[in-house]
């Protein structure tokens, strides 16, 4: 079948937006924890992986997809809370090196859990809508792509509403802007750190679940996703939510178009290179505040 240039481009566009949305969701998760706790959670990608695999398991045990989705979101959110309680909070003298190694240890632990629970096999889920694929301008792609992009929009909007309009959200924002002042005003910073981990876990899981029908999830997929999510966050400016979305989508589109028009070798290298270039041009990083 002949593919016109337009239909090819549309194909790549939607593929890019779709992968980009996942990166954006991971980046949002990074930023939530970073904003409240000045911590970069290297286990963020594992939340995505756990989300996808848990939902798939629940669904295969007979749970309707929607329920599986909801339950998994809660479960992974709770995993995030446990992670904070058991691995992060007990740290008496936090330093960047310790945080990195700790979250790395946690990431290894989660991968190990997944390995035992699900083995090395790749898993996939059914598409959320009954219609499997749609055609735009002679380009065919899965309806799930629309679900993915839509989910990003919904999550982003909900997140902003949460932070701007709810009391809990505003308190979280206060914590991120000035933890000491927030503490003095009676805000229980530790509780908001916990909430940030819950949200991060939940959002990560949502990303994993919504992309699982159009890709394969394996126990160790989280590392690469985490890396690219972090690259997206850096691209858009660490800590910035709109930046996370922009960064993620840009990275996804870059990957998609370079894979389509040049070669797939570039796919993984691209994130790394983009990250390196930005960081070299601005070696102090785009971090807003102190790095002790």
């Amino acid at each position: 079948m002949e593919h016109s240039y337009v239909s090819q481009a549309v194909q790549f566009l939607f593929a890019g937006l779709s992968t980009g949305s996942i990166y954006a969701l991971v980046a949002l998760g990074f930023n939530i924890i970073y904003n409240v706790n000045l911590l970069v959670n290297l286990a963020q990608g594992e939340f995505v992986m756990l989300g996808a695999l848990t939902m798939i398991s629940l669904y295969s045990r007979g749970l309707p997809l929607g329920l599986a989705f909801g339950v998994t979101t809660l479960v992974v959110g709770v995993v995030g809370i446990l992670f904070d309680r058991l691995a992060i909070r007990p740290l008496k003298r936090p330093s960047i090196m310790l945080m990195i190694l700790l979250t790395l240890g946690a990431s290894t632990f989660f991968k190990g859990l997944a390995l035992v629970a699900w083995g090395k096999d790749p898993y996939t889920a059914p598409t959320f809508s009954k219609t499997q694929s749609i055609s735009v301008l002679n380009a065919t792609f899965s309806t799930q792509t629309l679900w993915v992009i839509g989910t990003l929009i919904v999550v982003y909007v909900l997140l902003q509403l949460f932070l701007d309009r709810t009391i809990v959200g505003k308190a979280m924002k206060a914590c991120s802007e000035n933890p000491r002042a927030a503490g003095l005003m009676g805000i229980n910073v530790k509780r908001y750190i916990m909430i940030s981990f819950f949200l991060s876990g939940a959002i990560g899981a949502v990303g994993g679940m919504v992309v699982s029908p159009i890709s394969f999830m394996v126990y160790d997929e989280g590392t690469m996703l985490g890396l690219k999510g972090f690259a997206s966050a850096v691209l858009g400016g660490v800590g910035s939510y709109p930046g996370a979305v922009v960064g993620g989508l840009v990275l996804g589109l870059l990957e998609s178009f370079s894979t389509g028009y040049i070669s797939s070798i570039f796919k993984d290298i691209l994130a790394f290179l983009a990250l390196l270039i930005i960081l070299i041009l601005k070696p102090s990083g785009l971090l807003r505040r102190r790095e002790d």
Binding site: M97, D268, F272
Partner: protein
């Protein structure tokens, strides 16, 4: 510290005498692996412990050394020792090329950059199937030979590997107790103050990084020739993390601590054979628990306790 020197001499003597006791049992094989990983782990201690740079790609350099050795000796018929040396030089060059841009980064950025490098290297090993034999691994790597002498028995590798290992440990101990070691500790502690006393931060960070990569390459090459089989798995992030754990578990900046760390980390899979699948879970838990409750590691904590007891006695 004279006492540490004494212990180390006793240890070295013990190592040389041990084969008489073990007489080719399976533990000899484990000990060879431990010896190999000591070389990789002390490199991690240099970069992460002394220079304070968070590098997560030690296994990549290990893998590069391993594959260069395997490819040059099998496919191109190079003498293994030459392949090993070329591997060390090539890996050092790669580390230098990577280090120059990347070591300027701090904290998370450095960690992620090295992590990204690691993922790319591993994926190169998987993708360039024609040269590296792909994900199924490189079989029947030529055994090590020096001159005409071919190393075939476990015992032969044991003596070779441990001699090299002990030598590397001594070299490293010399480096860290010298001007270079102090420069690394200074730049780790406070790089502004360090540069104010004349320490060229970039130079020392890079030296530590490249030396560490050279160690990893050496270890990887030894592994390739000893194990006769390598796969892209050797360059996996989990291998880098294991080497970090070895350094932390044994005692960061104690130099000799890596012996204990490597011994424990490589014995666990053997002692707990039935739960091999759970290795990753255990690895993750060990790292988290160590960092939270015993960040100085075994030797480090022991050292602190001894120092504290001494101070109490002195009143």
């Amino acid at each position: 510290m004279k006492r540490t020197a004494l212990f180390f001499i006793l240890f070295a003597v013990g190592i040389y005498l041990l084969p008489l006791l073990l007489k080719g049992s399976y533990w000899m094989h484990i000990l060879v692996i431990i010896g190999i990983y000591i070389i990789g782990a002390i490199g991690v201690d240099l970069v992460v412990g002394f220079a304070g740079q968070i590098s997560l790609c030690q296994a990549s350099f290990f893998g590069i050394g391993a594959y260069i050795s395997a490819i040059l000796s099998n496919t191109y018929g190079f003498p293994p020792v030459l392949a090993l040396l070329i591997g060390v030089v090539a890996t050092s060059a790669i580390a230098l090329g990577l280090g120059l841009p990347v070591l300027r980064l701090r904290g998370y950025y450095l960690a992620i950059a090295t992590l990204g490098f690691g993922l790319i290297v591993q994926s190169i090993f998987v993708t360039l199937q024609d040269i590296t034999k792909g994900p199924d691994g490189f079989r029947n790597v030529v055994p090590l030979s020096i001159g005409g002498y071919v190393f075939r028995e476990v015992t032969e590798y044991y003596y070779l590997v441990w001699t090299i290992s002990i030598f590397i440990l001594l070299l490293t101990r010399n480096v860290v107790s010298s001007r270079v070691g102090r420069a690394l500790l200074a730049l780790r502690g406070d790089d502004v103050a360090a540069s104010s006393v004349g320490i060229d931060i970039t130079k020392y960070k890079t030296q530590a990084f490249v030396l560490s990569a050279a160690y990893a390459s050496l270890a990887g090459s030894l592994y390739a020739h000893y194990n006769r089989f390598i796969s892209p798995q050797v360059a996996d992030l989990s291998n880098s993390i294991t080497m970090i754990i070895m350094a932390v578990l044994g005692g960061i900046r104690t130099v000799y601590g890596v012996i204990i760390g490597a011994a424990i980390m490589k014995s666990i899979p053997e002692l707990l054979e039935s739960i091999l699948d759970y290795q990753m879970i255990i690895t993750g838990i060990i790292l988290v628990v160590l960092l939270l409750y015993m960040p100085q590691g075994l030797l480090g904590t022991a050292g602190s306790i001894i120092a504290w007891a001494r101070r109490r006695r002195a009143g």
